[in-house]
Symmetry: C2
Subunit: 450 residues, 2 copies
């Protein structure tokens, strides 16, 4: 439904662009939510994007569009725009989004823009730029409502009517002491419910979840999700309130991290490349296949060593695919469970040995089941007991080693703080391929005495 609507929008905008129906186009563009326009932009050429962008009248809408665009699309679009126009748009945007966008630009250009911005705004942005991108500090908004604990509900409401009009998420009111330290939280809801003269300290919650500026964004997201809150306050080393992370950013973090994990595991980088050109996509995907290529070449040299056995019993080769396939598939199962389990908190990196042992047991059980099945087929086809047994044993060996490697590698990487998703995919698959082929030929040549 949602996608259908966008599809219709894209098609009508394209048609109107071809026809040059500027008036009609202008009407549609200015009626459409910037989030939907960003989807349309993905399907347009750069010159079409520029024409459409110039038609947007509302400067705030231009800002929302900026923050919704892919990095490359954004950079292409602003190439050649006047700095003054850019600054005008950025000044109407939330500070955290501005910091994100400027972080994408070459340092020199970012500095030129900062110099032209209003002092207050640029100071806030520069402050945010100091934090690492993927930490609480890097994703927080510095706009929040902080009041003293002696303020009454009535005074708090009055202050909302005069100040804080640009606060993005005005549902929580944070209470700070004279040093700016976070001491409590209250909600807009509570303000209107209590008698007007009650001071905040009488009805605020003192048990506030807060995070430090350097906490990893995924951890921050997990806290917001776990406690079902709409925003979490961010504090500095001295527990002074410096910003908040809002739930809409948390959703983006989860979606982006899930996409990153999925793509990394498949060996296609960590960004969605489908919108890039064929050549660009090929370049990104090329190196990830190299592990698999090297693995294949190693397997080829291993099999080469068994050439004389192969020339005596040629049908040995017929079982290579099934043994590799079974190992590869159970290895993918194990590593996927581990990577996703670690990401969602279902598995803990400290439980490494119990998880690996469990996977090994599962690999052994499933290996016995499929080893028996595939070994029987081999025996039935060639009526050779030793061949059937070799194949069965090779399947058991390949599947249990695969489950072991598939769980141990990502667990081990997570333990030494390397992203387990990167380590999985191609690396694990390749290792399993080599081990499977080698153990198969060792078992078969030994049992068949060739």
């Amino acid at each position: 439904m949602q996608t259908d609507r966008n599809r219709i929008l894209v098609e009508s905008i394209r048609r109107l662009l071809r026809r040059g129906a500027t008036t009609h186009l202008g009407k549609i563009v200015n009626k459409t939510h910037a989030a939907d326009l960003s989807v349309v932009f993905r399907s347009l050429s750069l010159s079409q994007q520029r024409r459409l962008f110039d038609m947007i009248k509302d400067i705030e809408q231009k800002g929302v569009l900026f923050s919704e665009l892919d990095k490359d699309t954004f950079l292409d679009l602003i190439e050649g725009m006047k700095v003054e126009d850019l600054v005008e748009i950025l000044e109407r945007m939330p500070t955290d989004d501005v910091a994100d966008l400027l972080g994408r630009l070459p340092e020199e250009k970012a500095q030129t823009i900062l110099d032209k911005m209003k002092k207050d705004d640029s100071a806030e942005v520069e402050h945010l730029l100091r934090y690492e991108d993927d930490t609480a500090g890097g994703i927080m908004v510095p706009d929040f409502i902080a009041l003293s604990e002696h303020v009454t509900a009535r005074e708090a409401i009055e202050s909302l009517q005069k100040e804080h009009l640009d606060v993005e998420m005005p549902f929580y009111l944070y209470v700070v002491d004279e040093y700016g330290k976070l001491v409590g939280v209250s909600s807009l809801r509570q303000l209107v419910v209590v008698p007007p003269e009650t001071p905040l300290k009488d009805f605020m919650t003192t048990d506030v979840f807060s995070v430090q500026t350097d906490m990893d964004q995924e951890e921050v997201a997990k806290i917001v999700a776990r406690y079902d809150i709409l925003a979490v306050p961010v504090v500095d080393d001295a527990h002074r309130l410096v910003g908040i992370v809002t739930v809409d950013d948390v959703i983006d973090i989860f979606r982006r991290e899930a996409t990153e994990d999925i793509l990394k595991m498949a060996g296609v980088g960590d960004e969605f490349v489908e919108t890039k050109s064929v050549l660009k996509s090929s370049r990104i995907r090329l190196p990830w296949l190299f592990a698999s290529c090297m693995g294949g070449i190693i397997a080829f040299f291993i099999i080469g060593k068994f050439e004389s056995s192969l020339s005596r019993i040629a049908y040995l080769a017929a079982f290579i695919p099934v043994i590799m396939g079974m190992g590869g598939n159970i290895g993918t199962q194990s590593s996927t469970i581990v990577v996703r389990g670690l990401a969602t908190g279902r598995l803990n990196v400290r439980d490494i040995w119990s998880v690996v042992f469990k996977e090994l047991s599962i690999g052994l059980i499933l290996g016995l089941v499929y080893g028996l099945l595939i070994g029987s087929v081999a025996h039935f086809r060639y009526s050779m007991y030793a061949l059937g047994l070799s194949v069965a044993l090779a399947v058991v060996c390949s599947m249990s080693v695969a489950a072991l490697v598939g769980s141990l590698v990502p667990m081990g990487f997570a333990r030494i703080n390397i992203d387990p998703a990167v380590a999985t995919g191609p690396l694990v698959t390749t290792a399993i391929d080599i081990i499977s082929v080698f153990s198969y030929f060792m078992i078969a040549t030994t049992l068949l005495g060739i």
Copy 2:
């Protein structure tokens, strides 16, 4: 950090349980957030879970814990609990969570519980149970604030002080006409900012995003994420407001859907099985490996057909792993990009041909690069021009077919409304294995004239 804290919590609770330090344990349990307790529960035995559960004094905390537990843990825990105690807890929980929990129980037991609940509550729950689990109706909460457009800001605030005290997300005030149809929305923030005597119709937003009760939950989640809203109103066929879907549920949907997609693609069902026993996990993973097993057996019969060629040139077998591996890996890349692209809305199912064509081009380019590389290694090793060429061609063929199949299959399934994630993983891998092996032997036997 977060996981460390939980780890410490789990360890101290286990230690105290062993020591039987009931008083101390009771203090910890009643100080810990139910969301954290649910993590602890995962690592405890059933009898330990029961002991801990009985120590919780706050009935609402028991309710939060219920909704955080895994399905199996929940069912085990309430086995043998008195219906009266259960009802007491359920009555303090949000209606949508109650409906979720009752949906997990056998119908008879659910009915017994509904009969014992307060009339109002059970009517609301029964109403929710009528909607499909994974639709807007199934995940909405029926508690929201709906006011007439003639109500003034002051009256609205007064009504908040008297009624609607149990509303979960009191940040949006929905405005309905005399028939209960949704006509506008306002926020608590606006209420306190406008002059008190202003009627809602003068400051409400009439351009409200809303969803129908039967909309798929993923679509609902995408709308909330796209427009950065905290809740979306749900309307029935007659556009009457019947509930809202809140942002905390949206986060859960995204996380669950991402996990489901990842697990399905790896062929491990659609639920996280790691917390289940070894035998249970093995049973769930067994059937998903069957496709790969059948594919392997087919490949084995295909290679069997070329037995006479193999016995003449045994080292033909040495290239099977690298050709299968390259095809398998690029196939995984393509299908992952398609599945995740469709899930995040980056790809549209109607663009099937342009996506598949692009993937085929990438497969061809990468196939040429790696074909040249692997073909050269083959030529260098055996000094046979025809063998090098065969291997190179087989790599090109395997990689381009794999990119084609890997993108076409999930796109095609999505087109006919079958979940593309299920169709991917084992099915695509197996198809690619068979095609790779077959085309390799066809090319090699033709070019080498054997």
